[in-house]
């Protein structure tokens, strides 16, 4: 099998506490970032539409035109769907650009689909997340068709404003 994100940190960030291994029957949602087409063309197009010196400046795409440009190939869609269905995963949603697939399945199914993954629950204050503490992999047949699988490693993070807690009188 192939590791799509060998350099992704699996360290649990400060403040998060491990609670339990997730029961195999619990649902998880996996996000598959499907390989897009013509990304180089998209880059050239953005360079043109964003450069005030270009004749194409401001000639933006509609979402439908963007979908036609970068949407995944039939081969990618077919290979990934076959792979998911072989593992009994049918409950999937896509987006208008067709390049993300979000699928709901049981944790035990997800662990079979993504060898190496093991789902655990972590909490921080009122927040609770399910993540894998170990790296996942995918079969070599689908690896060329997926950029990464979301919902396994990255913990929620955001910038916090810096402030004094004092309130005005």
């Amino acid at each position: 099998s192939v590791h799509l994100e060998p350099d992704q940190s699996v360290r649990v960030p400060d403040g998060w506490r491990h609670v339990e291994r997730v029961d195999g029957s619990e649902d998880v949602i996996l996000t598959f970032a499907l390989k897009q087409q013509r990304v180089d063309k998209l880059k050239n197009l953005v360079d043109q539409v964003s450069d005030p010196r270009s004749q194409q400046y401001g000639h933006y795409l509609s979402l439908a035109e963007l979908s036609d440009l970068v949407g995944p190939s039939e081969e990618t869609l077919g290979t990934v769907r076959n792979w998911l269905e072989k593992h009994g995963i049918w409950d999937c949603l896509t987006v208008l650009t067709g390049d993300f697939l979000q699928c709901r399945t049981q944790a035990r199914n997800a662990e079979k689909l993504l060898p190496g993954a093991q789902f655990h629950r972590y909490v921080k204050g009122d927040l609770s997340v399910v993540r894998s503490g170990t790296p996942y992999s995918v079969s070599p047949q689908v690896a060329p068709h997926i950029d990464f699988v979301g919902g396994l490693h990255r913990f929620p993070s955001h910038r916090k404003v810096l402030n004094s807690t004092a309130a005005a009188g």
């Binding site: 060998p6 992704q8 990304v39 927040l127 990255r154 929620p156 910038r159 916090k160 404003v161 004094s164």
Partner: protein, 367 residues
């Protein structure tokens, strides 16, 4: 004289007159929240009542995408909404609330996916989210970068806070440190906003570097063509730079611009709170100003600004007030002694090209 940053202070400093407000019906701006951060409409209303005098503005958000939870309001969410609507006054405002509906979802990724699934979204987005580059996989960052390209191709402007840790610091091996860039601030296809403070904290004076202002050079993304000249000039002409072993001179350099990030007033849970700081504050302020410029462009039948950086770097600082004083923080070790990069005339990796001077920036971006 003032006791902290309010909409009036910002509008005075950035030369926004009472008539500098949004007017075009198709204009819009938005901010995204993660981690179950919510704002209260009552706080926004009170904020505008207390601080929003002297200019026309909305006191309500037009669209909330996602669920607004109950309970107490979050400081971050309240700050974003209150200030994007202060500079981007009278402009239709959206709030994207992305807690991650399921425990296994990634809130930031959910927001990105949402953009790919909505044919109508605001023209300007401000986001105060970031992770250290070295904690994320290159595959993830490269793909998110393509998502920013997708947004740029649609004419959307995406602004990210540059972070609150200066150049950052990471110990690679024992006693050997390097600076620590932040993503998505380091993406070449977003506009990154750094932070400043008033030279005199109680007067509307010129601005100096806010020492927390995030900035530096990406270890993942090479320097894009639009900034090569500006960054090369900085690297060649600055006398005192940190040792080269601390950063990647050929990486995407950020921030691109800056705005005040220190000593804000925010109304949260019906209480006015002073001394709120961070680039989370400067980002919605700059975003509102870009939305105002979009408004003028739309009124003239011109397209929106979209991905801003090529136009911004072509201006070479025109329309922005250069910040030339102060340094930001970095590794506390014997070599750099806690100091990262310093502001200089023209572009620098602490405050970018500087802070907005609205009438001049408008003129430059309408040309």
């Amino acid at each position: 004289f003032h006791l902290g940053v309010t909409p009036t202070v910002l509008r005075q400093r950035y030369n926004l007159s009472a008539s500098d407000i949004g007017r075009h019906p198709n204009n819009s701006q938005g901010c995204a929240q993660f981690l179950e951060q919510y704002f209260h409409p009552a706080d926004l209303s009170e904020f505008m009542y207390l601080f929003g005098r002297g200019f026309s503005h909305h006191s309500e958000v037009d669209h909330v995408v996602g669920e607004q939870g109950g309970g107490r309001a979050g400081l971050e969410a309240s700050l974003d909404v209150e200030y994007i609507m202060s500079t981007g006054a009278n402009i239709s405002t959206w709030v994207f609330s992305n807690p991650g509906r399921h425990e296994s979802q990634e809130p930031f990724l959910q927001w990105m996916i949402l953009l790919s699934n909505m044919s109508s979204v605001p023209w300007v987005h401000t986001i105060s989210y970031g992770d250290d580059e070295d904690t994320l996989s290159v595959a993830f960052m490269q793909r998110i970068n393509v998502e920013f390209l997708k947004a740029a191709s649609r004419g959307l402007t995406i602004l990210f806070a540059s972070g609150d840790d200066g150049a950052g610091c990471r110990e690679v091996v024992k006693a050997k440190n390097v600076f620590r860039p932040s993503f998505p601030a380091s993406s070449p296809y977003v506009t990154t906003v750094g932070g400043t403070s008033f030279k005199n904290p109680f007067q509307v004076t010129r601005e100096v570097t806010d020492y927390i202002s995030g900035g530096g050079f990406s270890n993942v993304f090479p320097m894009p063509q639009y900034q090569v000249s500006a960054v090369s000039k900085y690297l060649q002409s600055t006398e005192k730079l940190p040792p080269e072993s601390y950063y990647n001179r050929s990486g995407r350099a950020y921030p691109d611009v800056a705005a005040l990030s220190d000593n804000y007033w925010v109304v949260i849970n019906r209480v006015p709170v002073p001394w709120v700081s961070g680039t989370s504050a400067s980002t919605p302020v700059f975003g509102g100003i870009i939305a105002l410029i979009n408004d003028h462009r739309l009124q003239k039948g011109l397209p929106t600004l979209g991905f801003l950086n090529p136009a911004l770097y072509a201006l070479k600082g025109d329309g922005l007030s250069d910040v030339t004083e102060g340094c930001h923080l970095s590794c506390i070790d014997d070599i750099v002694l806690g100091q990262g990069f310093c502001a200089t005339p023209s572009w620098d990796p602490v405050t970018g090209w500087g802070t907005p001077n609205f009438p001049e920036l408008l003129k430059a971006l309408l040309r």
